[in-house]
Symmetry: C2
Subunit: 296 residues, 2 copies
Amino acid sequence: MTAPDWIAVDWGTTRLRAWAMRGTDPLAEARAETGMNAIPPGGFEAALLDLVGGWSLAPATPVIACGMVGARQGWVEAPYRPVPCPPLGGVPVAAHCDDPRLNVRIVPGLSQSAPPDVMRGEETQIAGFLSLNPDFDGVVCLPGSHCKWVHVSAGEVVSFQTAMTGELFAALSRHTVLRHSIGDGWDDDAFGDAVSTALSRPERLATGLFGLRAEGLLDGLAPASATARLSGLLIGMELAATRAYWLGRAVALIGAPDLCRHYAAALQAQGVTPMLTRADTTTLAGLAAARRTVAP
Amino acid sequence: MTAPDWIAVDWGTTRLRAWAMRGTDPLAEARAETGMNAIPPGGFEAALLDLVGGWSLAPATPVIACGMVGARQGWVEAPYRPVPCPPLGGVPVAAHCDDPRLNVRIVPGLSQSAPPDVMRGEETQIAGFLSLNPDFDGVVCLPGSHCKWVHVSAGEVVSFQTAMTGELFAALSRHTVLRHSIGDGWDDDAFGDAVSTALSRPERLATGLFGLRAEGLLDGLAPASATARLSGLLIGMELAATRAYWLGRAVALIGAPDLCRHYAAALQAQGVTPMLTRADTTTLAGLAAARRTVAP
């Protein structure tokens, strides 16, 4: 492999990904399960070298990282920047390295005071999305464990709101009696009906959850239908809570393709046709934009 | 200890309790963590003897059990009885025992076809409550992992609805990022405000969950306040979903005293003053009522 001129890093709570970059082109990619939660104190440099130490690295190769690696419990705290502000600003925060081949910088997250909210990592994806769509004005939605709804206008993040829908789905499907009810597969009709129910009557979530279990016991509700209905109840409640974000605005979805398809279907039933972008694309474009602030 | 003339057993998913009874009076009580989930196939009799085998038992001592022990995966399946019906009916289902000292009978649960719902164990508590309050007409609410709202009229269970609020609270507070936010203690104002918010805007749960985390990070939200607010959001959403049950009806709460106090406070803010009864009292009274169907 030719020597990368920089390294892009997406370092979240549960996983670490790195790309050897030449300009905006990835030469190689590596990933590990060593997310922030798995790193002992002082262990960030070693975990990164485990992943990229085999690459041919010039001295002081710039490494641009985003995500929870900049949290208080991360490699170095990159303090939140308060909105409204552009998704990236200034030079990312330097992290100390013993290895002279590395020059690590961490992109700060964003915070909002009222209502209180925070993001780390999504600001980089939004910057990447804006570098690809510089005139975008509307709402960027980033589905995932902590789904972010972000109002973007004139190149700035105006406001945002988080719904921990993905984490709620995981907790319900792994750590409650619903683990007996849900399973592989999908059911578009069950999903659509549940979204519609939760959008108009969000309180139905309270009784709809055990309803999945009871319908499985009494009527043999299929696991695929139960999965889709659970997802639909949660996404429908999220859409009810974030209506002020998506109603009447241009909406862009960034995330894993399967998950984005579900959000797109739910939004389309409400008359909103979102544009879809892969998370990888925006992450790399955003880290490349952050890299230009270090060595333009 | 004098010999009990029967044994009362409450055998749920996660725990087993037994009382040595003389008439309606408990002579002794024993408990173990060997709930249904912890019993290997064929292991129910051994688990029960571990707990009560040391008591002085006459041959064929009646043992009356309620709860998940009557589920398909339990000792013997006690098929659901469909509502509307009295909470108890007929002779409980016999379970095979090798030990000649035991004559085990299991109280069947109740089912409802539309909307699908099931209960196992609460029917016995309702029977006990009705034996103590024979003229009650209204709604019995049994807070817990799977909170039941039960419309009782003329000695029958007319309809019921389950909200898995307790299990949802446990999954959120143990298996999501909220485990960093919540802690010991309580905050009545935070609870009341959250109940009110969720009753009027139940969709706020979707964004209110991560809001607890963000407010902890940015504004130092106290763990006791976060706990009370999480509980209030969930109970408020439950009250919004079960309004048809509690609005304008006599309401009786049966359960753990601390939890019942929270439900009572939430209902009182809506102009409903429930009566409170301890779960132990109704369970024993209900098992005693079931015992009279075996040997009146």
